[in-house]
């Protein structure tokens, strides 16, 4: 049998008769009621504090939000992606497939690097929007944008190919919603005694650029632009 501590219910008189506390509660809800009724007659889309009237009235999305992917171009309109496949390797959901190739003759100036991605597919249905692809990208080509309305009727439409990813970028640029450039994060110098030393070649990758996330500074920059 289960042992249960004996609980003595000690109620004050006000608690005992129900009505006092219920009346207090009624007063509280009434206060909210009056406040919100007044608020709902105010002009403007977002008057009642909690609710965003979604399609018309949108929340401000953080510039570092992890939404739909896009493939960035540089200022000259060149594709930044070199098709290295780091993102595909970093992806925990295995939703990225990249094919690397060399640009065709005469098209070299369309690409920023010497190589390019022939095809680039992201299965949005598998994606968990963790942002690891973005962090692993050495050229800052693949970023997660601010678009969060990704629903579609056809599963095939949810596999984003290269064209769609670049189109995402163009749209974001026209709306002024580009991701701020990554800010290097201050990294503490390793102590002299390093236990994790493994092989020499792995140490190379661990410089400050590993991060892509915009910090405090970039966030304020973004706001200034908008």
């Amino acid at each position: 049998m289960v042992r249960r501590p004996v609980v003595k219910k000690e109620y004050s008189l006000g608690e005992r008769v129900y009505l006092v506390e219920i009346a207090k509660g009624l007063g509280l809800t009434w206060k909210h009621f009056v406040f919100n009724v007044k608020a709902s007659f105010r002009k403007g889309p977002h008057t009642v504090p909690t609710c965003w009237q979604y399609p018309e009235d949108r929340r401000e999305i953080a510039p570092i939000f992890r939404g739909a992917h896009m493939l960035q171009l540089n200022d000259k309109g060149q594709e930044l992606c070199v098709g290295c496949g780091m993102c595909a390797r970093a992806c925990p959901a295995k939703c990225i497939t990249v094919k690397r190739g060399k640009p065709a003759k005469g098209e070299e100036d369309k690409y920023a690097g010497k190589t390019m991605c022939v095809s680039f597919e992201i299965d949005i249905l598998r994606c968990i929007f963790c942002g690891l692809c973005e962090k692993s990208c050495p050229k800052n080509a693949l970023v997660l944008g601010q678009d969060y309305e990704l629903a579609d009727y056809e599963p095939e439409h949810c596999i984003y190919d290269k064209d769609r990813l670049i189109a995402n970028f163009h749209r974001a640029r026209s709306e002024g919603l580009l991701k701020p450039p990554p800010v290097p994060i201050p990294v503490e110098a390793p102590p002299a005694k390093k236990k994790i030393a493994q092989k020499g070649d792995e140490k190379k990758g661990s410089s400050g650029k590993a991060s892509v996330k915009g910090g405090k500074k970039s966030a304020s920059n973004r706001k200034g632009e908008a």
Partner: protein, 346 residues
């Protein structure tokens, strides 16, 4: 116009009124609760979302009508109407206004002034429980039957305090007719207070109100449908318009209970301190008395909503405890004292 024609008009009017109240109440419930909870509530259908109940009605009507395979078919179909009809019928004895004089003919604003209006109300509210129990039983689902059982026990237990509270009113006014009671509540007593049942019987009013909440299955007494425990209780298995009838019947019921409360404890159509019939014409007086009644009823309807979104719900045994251990003794004491006072003063 013949009497039966007048009666028919009155019946149609009161039905439309009851329906309208139920329809508007579904909207008020949603919007008011939203406002109390810092939300917005439905505001897309029509201005301020006023057409939302209509949209809900269309949705419920056009939904597929499902009867579970192992349900008792006839009883399953019978349940919702059995619940909704008594709620409508109670309106028959509610005096929703004083009288209106049209073409020299004096029309009483009440469908029928039966001299046992009281018993009629009690009897009909007792019938409503059949709708829940039958619905719960016929669904052949454990949640439904638990809801039905809870409904039976709750409604039967709370009829007693309700009856006791009503009895004090009967003792006070010496009549079973609701119209008579309302008429006797006009004027003032002790010089200051309106001659209302509420001021003469505050304890009786509280007992009646609590019992009314229990009869209407509202939070804090919504155990029969208790969303988080019994899914939705007795109407778990219902869908489409059958469910709609249950939901609708609940709001009609609220309207009835609010109307009864107003008639018994708040002077019905009368305004305190002011005799409207003195400075209003015969037709406008009839309309004004109805409006006064409606405003009072609306307040109690709002109170139902207001309380629902403020308090948590009881547990089954606590509910029974409250009914049997607190309300019934209180009601008996109240009845005894009232009887004594009435005996002494008469």
């Amino acid at each position: 116009m013949a009497d039966w024609q007048i009666d028919l008009i009155k019946v149609v009017f009161i039905w439309t009124w009851a329906l309208l109240i139920a329809v508007v109440m579904t909207w008020v419930e949603r919007r008011a609760s939203a406002m109390m909870q810092d939300r917005v509530g439905p505001n897309r259908a029509g201005p301020f979302g006023l057409l939302q109940p209509l949209a809900d009605g269309i949705k419920l009507f056009t939904k597929e009508d499902i009867i579970p395979k192992r349900a008792r078919k006839i009883l399953f179909i019978l349940g919702p109407p059995l619940f909704a009809i008594p709620a409508f019928s109670t309106y028959a004895v509610v005096p929703f206004g004083d009288k209106i004089v049209i073409g020299g003919k004096e029309i009483i604003l009440q469908v029928s002034d039966v001299n046992i209006g009281f018993l009629y109300i009690l009897a009909l509210s007792a019938i409503a429980v059949y709708g829940m129990v039958i619905g719960g039983w016929a669904s052949n689902s454990k949640y439904s039957i638990l809801g039905g059982l809870r409904a039976t026990a709750q409604l039967i237990s709370y009829e007693i305090p309700m009856g006791l509270a009503l009895l004090t009113i009967v003792l006070l006014y010496g009549t079973f007719s609701l119209r008579e009671i309302v008429l006797q509540q006009q004027g003032t007593f002790l010089g200051v207070l309106p001659n209302w049942g509420f001021f003469k019987q505050p304890l009786g009013f509280i007992i009646f109100l609590v019992a009314a909440y229990a009869e209407a299955n509202r939070v804090p007494f919504d155990l029969p449908e208790c969303e988080s425990e019994l899914v939705t209780g007795y109407h778990t298995e219902y869908g489409s318009m059958r469910l709609g009838l249950y939901l609708f019947g609940e709001y009609v019921n609220l309207g009835t209970l609010a109307a009864v409360t107003v008639s018994l404890f708040f002077g019905g159509w009368g305004l305190p301190y002011i005799d409207m019939s003195k400075f209003l014409g015969p037709i406008s007086y009839g309309i004004a008395s109805f409006l006064v009644f409606f405003v009072k009823q609306a307040f109690f309807l709002f109170l139902f909503v207001w309380v629902r979104w403020t308090v948590p719900r009881f547990r089954y045994d606590q509910l029974m405890g409250l009914g049997w251990k607190a309300l019934i003794p209180l009601g008996l004491i109240n009845l005894f004292i009232t009887a004594l006072l009435v005996q002494l003063t008469v």
